[in-house]
């Protein structure tokens, strides 16, 4: 039996497990499979259009009868600083040359847009059971509409102060994202990477600071980790990295091999891939330009100039400029269908909890 049912009551899922929304690494297939297994299936919508998001949610609704989570980002957009972007392109010029690309060619516009009125209308139309945000919350008018549509609202805190802020601004559940987590740090009231606590230190501090249920995230990829999160006071867990190697993920070809072959201590936090700190397996870009560089333009402008390099290198079978987002639990990942993995995670967590109670 789960020692805490608050998240189960809120989401109405079979298990208190949230599939982490991993933009770029997954779409409908993984969300459907995880939901079929009993987790909350999440669809990352931060890098897709309104039409694409509608199409994908409709596919999910057709294939599984379970609650669904639409995930958005809500960064404050800052205009690209022309001087910084020019210097960044200069820094990347040798790579353009090496791959036979024209560094002067016009770059495509960013596909990373924050949650806006158009997406809010879509939420009102589709009424997902849960909406989760990254980098804080959208403005109060939009958030009010999301809540009026009946959606449970969730967002990530990386420090206690962010958790308190999220609760005050209307979050129904808070993801405590420890430093172990893969992908972008959800930080929005701090920009100091050195002060980001680990999951074990963060979760109980957040639990003490807020009244809403807390979802532990970062480094959790097996039944032991889930049981530990409950011991710390969490009401559930969000898991991403463990699902990366499932057949339903969109991690393909060389990237899949790179993740499978990464060593147990391989992941690092970098800002050179997008301009925001994120954890992943080092690629050539992170090794040679980062992992942290003061020259990276603000999010998401650092990523824009990397687009052509990523595409050209991938054609050659290389992940030199590909995001290999993954958390510290990468070594626990298994190649297993996501529904089966979800059930195995829940079963081993329950077994661990009852074993320790005996």
């Amino acid at each position: 039996m789960w020692p805490d049912r608050r998240l189960l009551d809120l989401f109405k899922t079979e298990f208190p497990i949230v599939l982490a929304p991993m933009a770029g690494a997954m779409d409908t297939d993984l969300a459907i499979a995880a939901a079929q297994g009993g987790a909350l299936g999440s669809l990352p919508c931060a890098m897709i259009s309104v039409d694409k998001a509608r199409e994908q949610i409709n596919i999910i609704r057709q294939r599984v009868s379970a609650p669904v989570n639409m995930n958005f980002s809500c960064q404050k957009m800052v205009d690209a600083d022309p001087a910084r972007v020019a210097a960044w392109k200069q820094r990347l010029a040798p790579y353009y040359e090496e791959l036979g690309l024209d560094p002067a060619a016009r770059l495509p516009a960013t596909n990373r847009a924050p949650f806006d009125a158009a997406m809010c209308e879509l939420v009102e139309e589709l009424k997902p059971e849960v909406v989760s945000f990254h980098y804080g919350l959208p403005d109060q008018a939009l958030l009010k509409r999301v809540k009026a549509a009946g959606c449970v609202v969730m967002s990530s805190a990386t420090i206690v102060r962010e958790a308190i802020w999220l609760e005050q601004h209307g979050c129904d559940a808070i993801i405590a994202q420890g430093a172990e987590a893969g992908g972008h740090r959800g930080m929005f009231l701090t920009d100091d990477i050195a002060e980001q606590p680990g999951t074990f230190a963060l979760v109980p501090q957040v639990v003490d600071a807020v009244k809403v249920p807390v979802v532990a995230a970062g480094g959790i990829a097996d039944g032991r980790g889930i049981a530990a999160a409950f011991a710390l006071g969490a009401s559930g867990v969000q898991i991403g990295t463990a699902y990366l190697r499932c057949p339903e993920s969109r991690v393909a070809g060389p990237a899949r091999i790179a993740l499978a072959e990464a060593r147990d201590d391989a992941t690092v936090i970098t800002n050179v891939m997008t301009g925001r700190p994120a954890r992943g397996v080092p690629n050539r870009m992170m090794r040679e330009v980062g992992p942290i560089s003061p020259d990276a333009p603000a999010f998401p402008h650092a990523a824009t100039a990397l687009g052509p390099l990523k595409a050209a290198a991938e054609k050659l079978g290389k992940v030199d400029f590909t995001n290999l987002w993954a958390g510290q639990a990468l070594w626990l990942g298994r190649e297993m269908p996501a529904a089966e993995l979800t059930r195995a995670l829940a079963a081993s967590a329950l077994a661990r909890l009852s074993q320790m109670a005996g």
Binding site: D4, V160, E180, A201, G219, G225, D264, M356
Partner: protein
Amino acid sequence: MPIVTPLTALLGIRHPILQAPMDVIAGARLTAAVSSAGGFGILGGGYGEKAWLEAETKKLKGTPAPFGIGFITWSLAKQPELLDVALDARPGAIMLSFGDPKPFVPRIKAAGALLICQVQDEGMAQQALDAGADILIAQGTEAGGHGASRTTIDIVPSIVDLAAGRVPVAAAGGIGDGRGLAAMMMLGAAGVLLGTRFYASQECDGAEEAKKRICAATGGSTVRSIIFDLSRNNVWPAPFNGRCLINDHARRWAGRELELLQNVKTVAAEYADAKAAGNFDIAAVIAGEAVGLIHDIPPAAEIVDRFVAEADQIFLGRRNSSAASRA
């Protein structure tokens, strides 16, 4: 209900709670208090200061409850004779951290003491097992003081798997209350090693001002860096650096470590003065990420009792104590 694990059985203790051998501030008083409470106190031999070690071990001689003595391995290697001073006090175990334990193993075993090795990755764990370690401490980056980069939730299960039941593994780093003990045991640990929590105890020999700062600190107010080591001319081997509370000195030099190195003479003099004067705006308060869970300075025995009671409630499937008291 007592929490019985392979660690309690091996060390002959009542509770699976070890007190970290914090350099000099974990003196005989704290060590004896933790051991008397049913945990395992470990004297903070640290870098190795002979007069201090002789004085403190003398106070520990004849303590009825088992206790340990800890050293920084690479520093002990410079004055290996200190191990004899330690063994002369008949400790139940010697704890070695940061370096190859192998040269010291024959003397430790000949004296009938157990060997506890603190490790930060799989390579070090294997080295310790090969050398004959009886207990491993898997230390995550959340820990105060010296350590490395991997976090507790990552390193603990990995080391537990590697040890494969041959020796008990205790967890260290980021543990501030009984929830942490329960969580570490969920991960497969046989117990915990607590530093910062015992720093803020009545019997710890640390400065009162430092203890108060630990109680006042919130989560996210510590940083792992080389700034304080550089500032006291104390060069550590890679990959180790130290976690401390963020203070004016840490803020001043963050990201300017090279410049600090270039001005090290001036800074070191200034730092030594501040340390002597107890000015913790400059001098380090060595503490881990659990500071946000620590709000008082109780007797060590009370800390042990609280941990056991809280963990016990969690194992029984009751809500964790903090949430329960709030509801």
